[in-house]
Symmetry: C2
Subunit: 109 residues, 2 copies
DNA sequence: ATTATACATCGTAATATTGCGATATAAATA
DNA sequence: TATTTATATCGCAATATTACGATGTATAAT
């Protein structure tokens, strides 16, 4: 084995897992924080700021892009990455609901 | 290679990544939903409800427990799993802040 | 046209994850 | 004490992830 049995879960469960997985790496958290903080597009600055090789950063950016969390547009020689607003808000809402659905310890251990 | 370079990231970035990673699997999302929904402790019902083998479920529960997201207490023969309130609230707040720090598209692509 | 710059992609090695059968453990019951 | 019940752990095979050097590609500058 070694592959997730996606077919036994709902579309929503798989989507949520995919989003979380895309963010579940310190480098990708750092990239997102950097984009959020500067509140504008981020290009190759990342390679110097994080201590990872250019190929590695590029790969991480690709994963965030594939998950729909960021988007990249060509800006001359470099590429400009920023948050994909739609996905961001969707994920924000879904995660918000998910966490808020906890009613606190009641009949619990 | 093949191992994450945790030493170049902050404690917070690594912790957040670890929490997200623990939740970044459809089975573990399903388990958490089940716990949240029934609002009480969950034992072996999961094995019948999800379509995964007992060993697999046990492993997923272990990962959620190791991340501090759920806790398990022995309840006679079976084990009772529920949300770990402290971690849950912490993660809820940190994720909330993280997502809320997005200022919307401004100087962006 | 050539060169420089900024990324992306390929290929590969090291390691991690996923899933499960088999087996171990520990509490409850007969 | 022996057996049942509920869960954990081991060991393995299949696959995925992480990281990076090397190389490809496309735009800008010379």
């Amino acid at each position: 084995m070694g592959l997730t049995k996606t077919e036994i879960f709902t579309e929503e469960q798989n989507q949520m897992a995919a989003w979380l997985k895309a963010m579940a790496h310190p480098a990708r958290i750092a990239i997102l924080q950097r984009i959020l903080q500067s509140n504008t597009c981020i290009c190759g600055d990342l390679v110097e700021e994080l201590g990872l090789a250019q190929a590695t950063i590029s790969q991480h950016l690709k994963e965030l892009k594939n998950a729909g969390i960021i988007q990249g547009t060509i800006e001359g020689v470099s590429i400009c990455y920023c948050i994909e607003p739609k996905t961001w808000k969707l994920l924000q809402n879904q995660l918000g609901d998910f966490f808020a659905s906890y009613q606190g310890e009641q009949n619990c251990c």
